[in-house]
């Protein structure tokens, strides 16, 4: 297991898919739950058909337009949400009176399930990408905000005093001490916040849109086409993995100064 994890992981996946395919096969197993042999495939789909649907989407190129829209919404939601979170986090972190005033409201706003805002955003911003971006922003903002706020609060007082003694003025302290410290916290929440931007985009599409992978899933569901629903989920999962790998790459480049979790490992 320790020597070839990928092999075992692959085998596990194959085993699960094979069991799924077998159980959904009409007539292969004697009827236990359903008397109609096609019922299992209707409710749960079949892995072979799911892959075939996904394959067709890529082969005829119809998926790319939807993926592009989803990507666009995710990136916009992340950039705007992270920018706002960084700005407000720095501001409240450095202004104790403002944070004392706004603290309960921020806690309340964060505790609120923001997905219910989606229909309101649709009224405000229409069915285009901006209602999805707005939903993503409300999800990303709080993750980034809390991390940056914490980052500002936890700047080492020694590093701060040292910078002061080296002659830094207020602006330079912000630029050279608070901002780098806050961004390091921002990047540590990067995986979570990109994931949230993605959730915002897909949920928004699902609730009402004309394009995007979430729309695709919603359409298939409306037609009881379970195989296409699962195919849409497959595409979303693959997309999320690619996004996550891109984030990990960016993180490694930008946080080169931070000690790795462990630079040596026991054999």
């Amino acid at each position: 297991m320790r020597r070839a994890p990928w092999l075992w992981r692959g085998l596990l996946l194959v085993a699960i898919l094979a069991a799924w395919q077998a159980l959904a096969q009409p007539g292969l197993l004697p009827p236990i739950v359903w008397d109609n042999p096609d019922r299992a495939a209707f409710f749960f789909g079949e892995p072979v058909k799911i892959v075939r649907v996904a394959w067709t989407w890529f082969a005829d190129g119809s998926i790319y337009g939807h993926l592009w829209v989803t990507l666009e919404e995710t990136v916009l939601a992340f950039v705007i949400g992270a920018g706002l979170g960084l700005g407000v986090g720095l501001w409240l972190g450095l202004a104790p009176s403002a944070s004392a005033l706004l603290d309960p409201y921020i806690i309340a706003a964060n505790a609120m399930p923001r997905v219910v805002l989606a229909p309101i955003f649709m009224v405000w911003f229409g069915l285009g990408i901006w209602s999805k971006v707005a939903l993503g922003v409300t999800l990303v903002f709080f993750i980034v905000f809390f991390n940056v706020y914490q980052g500002v609060k936890e700047v080492s007082p020694v590093v701060l005093n040292n910078a002061l003694m080296l002659g830094a003025n207020r602006r330079q302290l912000l630029r050279h001490v608070y901002l780098p410290s806050a961004t390091s916290w921002l990047f540590s929440s990067l995986h979570a916040s990109v994931g949230m931007a993605f959730v915002g985009a897909v949920v928004g599409e699902y609730l009402g849109s004309a394009r995007g992978v979430g729309y695709l899933i919603q359409q298939a569901e409306g037609a009881f086409d379970i195989n296409s629903v699962f195919a849409g989920m497959l595409v979303l999962t693959a997309f999320a993995l690619v996004l996550d790998a891109a984030v990990a790459r960016a993180e490694r480049r930008l946080l080169r100064w931070r000690p790795a979790q462990s630079e040596v490992e026991p054999l």
Binding site: V158, V159, N162, G167, Q172, S181
Partner: protein, 269 residues
């Protein structure tokens, strides 16, 4: 010769978390002459760092005043460099960028800052390590970077708060010698805080002994008339060094025991 730093009746009182007030230092009066290397020793937790923060202008005394070259200190002490006990390097800056930070804050061009930074890295024995980040350097190397970071700005007063206390004995000896060598080049005024009496005697022109806290105050001053240049490892064996050590330790002993008893009571209670 005038005095570089003089404490005049400095008292620092803090509001204690449990209510009431805690007086860290009380009515401290002493001064450091220009070009003099003064060590301040005292039991742990006696408010040595408080005094240094007052001299740096990071902390305003509750009563009394500090004069820097005869002028009362208001705000930060711009003529002083401060070397902290804890890690003070900016972890997101490379060693070189840390050394040149002060020059950058003063608006020097990056080429000029870089040239002088490389020069200082070489002077503290870290040539070629400029692009390493602090976490990639050993504790001793980080202290050298801190030293260069302070000295590159050419401050007239050096405030050093147990700068080498976290280092192992061998590295510490090396760093002490290097500090003396750099210091002897242009004789800045130094206030060196330490709890290690041997270190204090080996480095200094004068040793100031503080009483145990709270309400710490100086209880003795000893001129160290050992010849310079010194090698800190060798000078510890000189008979005169041993004599000085005995005398100063004798005056400190009661305070150290008092400080120890207080710490123990605090832990027990």
């Amino acid at each position: 010769m005038g005095s570089a730093v003089s404490f005049e009746g400095v008292t620092c009182t803090f509001a204690a978390r449990a209510g009431g007030a805690y007086t860290a230092v009380e009515d401290v009066t002493f001064s450091i002459a220009e070009g003099e290397f003064v060590s301040v020793v005292g039991p742990t937790g006696c408010g040595k760092s408080t005094l240094l923060n007052v001299a740096a202008g990071l902390l305003r005394p509750s009563a009394g005043a500090v004069r820097i070259f005869g002028e009362p200190l208001a705000g930060l002490n711009r003529r002083a460099g401060y070397m902290f006990q804890a890690e003070a390097l900016m972890p997101w800056r490379s060693a070189l960028a840390n050394v040149t930070a002060g020059l950058e804050f003063r608006g020097l061009t990056s080429d000029e800052a870089r040239r002088r930074g490389e020069d200082w890295l070489a002077r503290v024995g870290l040539a070629g390590f400029g692009d390493r980040y602090p976490h990639q350097l050993s504790g001793g190397m980080r202290k050298r970077v801190s030293l260069a970071q302070m000295l590159i700005l050419d401050p007239q007063i050096l405030l050093m708060d147990e700068p080498f206390s976290a280092l192992d004995v061998q590295t510490r000896g090396l760093m002490e010698n290097e500090l003396l060598e750099l210091w002897s080049a242009d004789r800045k005024s130094v206030i060196f805080i330490t709890h290690d009496l041997e270190e204090a005697i080996a480095l200094s022109d004068r040793v100031v002994v503080l009483s145990a806290g709270p309400a710490t105050r100086p209880i003795g001053e000893f001129a160290i008339d050992l010849p310079r240049p010194r090698d800190v490892a060798e000078i510890r064996l000189a008979p005169h060094f041993v004599g000085l050590y005995d005398r100063i330790w004798h005056s400190m002993k009661a305070e150290v025991l008092k400080g120890y008893a207080q710490t123990r009571n605090r832990v027990a209670g």
